[in-house]
Assembly symmetry: C2
């Protein structure tokens, strides 16, 4: 069984403190992975949190608006690589054979913004017993210079490429919330929840929960959105939080 797990940037960083890892939260997530039965059949993607988003906002870069400023590229990409190194180190410290994969080195967008992410390197690393760790990043974008490539986009690209049986999105909230703050158990179309989906609190160049749900609905495998406390349950095969089931697989 292959799992694609997204660790939200807000989960593993202090989102309002520039470039600060939340080491306790990161360590707890790694422990949950180590103590699960998933083994090394897992691809991990993490978001930007306080590493990527502040720099992206400073340079006015989003998934559609790019920069040709090399200082901007270095600030954003460099910060994400530092966070990635912290995540890879936390994993290897607990014995997970984690290796970094930087999307900026592999992916492109064409002039229409369509993403191409080569994935043979990911499947080969998995087959060889390594745990690839990707991250929200920049991507070379025809006509725009470099734009943001969000962790959520990566999850959507990776899940079919690795034939993921399960897709988990670990966020700071316990699932997709309705207008009363209660967790929505299950989502099967965007229209059904469009009215209740707000944007996330802190700066998030990658679209918040609405963008997440829209993207995950496009997957054939069901995706589960849950909070940090529910990571062990997700890895044990349960479906805590919100299960998002699109129609692509039907």
């Amino acid at each position: 069984m292959t799992v694609v797990l997204k660790l939200g940037g807000s989960v593993i960083t202090e989102k309002d403190e520039p470039e600060t890892v939340d080491r306790a939260a990161l360590s707890a997530a790694v422990t949950a992975i180590v103590e699960s039965a998933v083994g090394d059949d897992i691809v991990i993607v993490h978001g930007g949190g306080s590493f990527g988003h502040h720099h992206a906002a400073e340079y006015g870069v989003s998934t559609t608006a790019g920069t040709h400023n090399v200082a901007g590229v270095q600030a954003i990409h460099g910060a994400m690589c530092r966070l990635n190194a912290a995540v890879v180190d936390a994993l290897t410290d607990q014995g997970v054979p984690a290796v970094p994969v930087h999307p900026f080195s592999a992916a492109t967008r064409d002039a229409d913004g369509a993403l191409s992410l080569p994935t043979d390197q990911i499947t080969t690393l998995l087959d060889e017993g390594f745990v690839p760790v990707l991250h929200g990043d920049l991507v070379a974008h025809a006509g725009e210079g470099a734009t943001v490539l969000s962790g959520d986009e990566l999850v959507v690209e990776l899940a079919p490429a690795v034939n993921a049986d399960r897709v988990g999105v670990c966020s700071t909230v316990p699932g997709v919330l309705d207008e009363d703050g209660a967790v929505v158990d299950s989502i099967e179309s965007f229209d059904a929840v469009a009215a209740v989906l707000g944007e996330s609190d802190a700066t998030d160049v990658s679209g918040g929960m609405a963008g997440k749900v829209r993207a995950l609905l496009a997957l054939s495998a069901p995706a589960v959105v849950f909070g940090p406390d529910a990571l062990p349950a997700f890895l044990a095969g349960e479906s805590p939080g919100t299960t998002i089931t699109g129609d692509r697989g039907d």
Copy 2:
């Protein structure tokens, strides 16, 4: 005009001192690039020198013998990323819009050892005015774990992908040398020089001059092998050192 330039690891590092950049040599190479008319139509590849080779030797990793040891992967790949950061910094310090591209994040070898390197990200970065800087690295290798991907292999993959007009290999020697130590002006087949091609002095997991010549003969564009002093001449359009012309383009 697009140039692919390889900066040998021995040129930009103190090859016998672990993980030591030769800052004077690196700075001189960057100055030659800045003062040339090449502009940003250049892809730079650098070798491992004292960053990659010692670690690769320690873990017994070559272009064909791999490792599944994640500590080995991190030692070798991590060292190469540190050297790459030094090269990118040296370039941006002099105003070159350099961005890092890590081959381990993009490439694979199949079970027969054949290399696949996606290159759309490289051509898009070039088109957008960035200067991609790649490096000798590890690569996910089916059945072997991770093997070495040499800078010379990268040059051979990149030159046709970016439609390179000129390919330069800046080495510590002034060209390919014959048995008397004189520079061979021109090479058109491997057999003609096989007898005089020795291995390089220090530890080099990537095949030394013999491997370089063999690889460069496979290119359609002529490749020029020269020493550091001749870099300005090469970038000015001259062909110092040894010109290697294969038959693929005929």
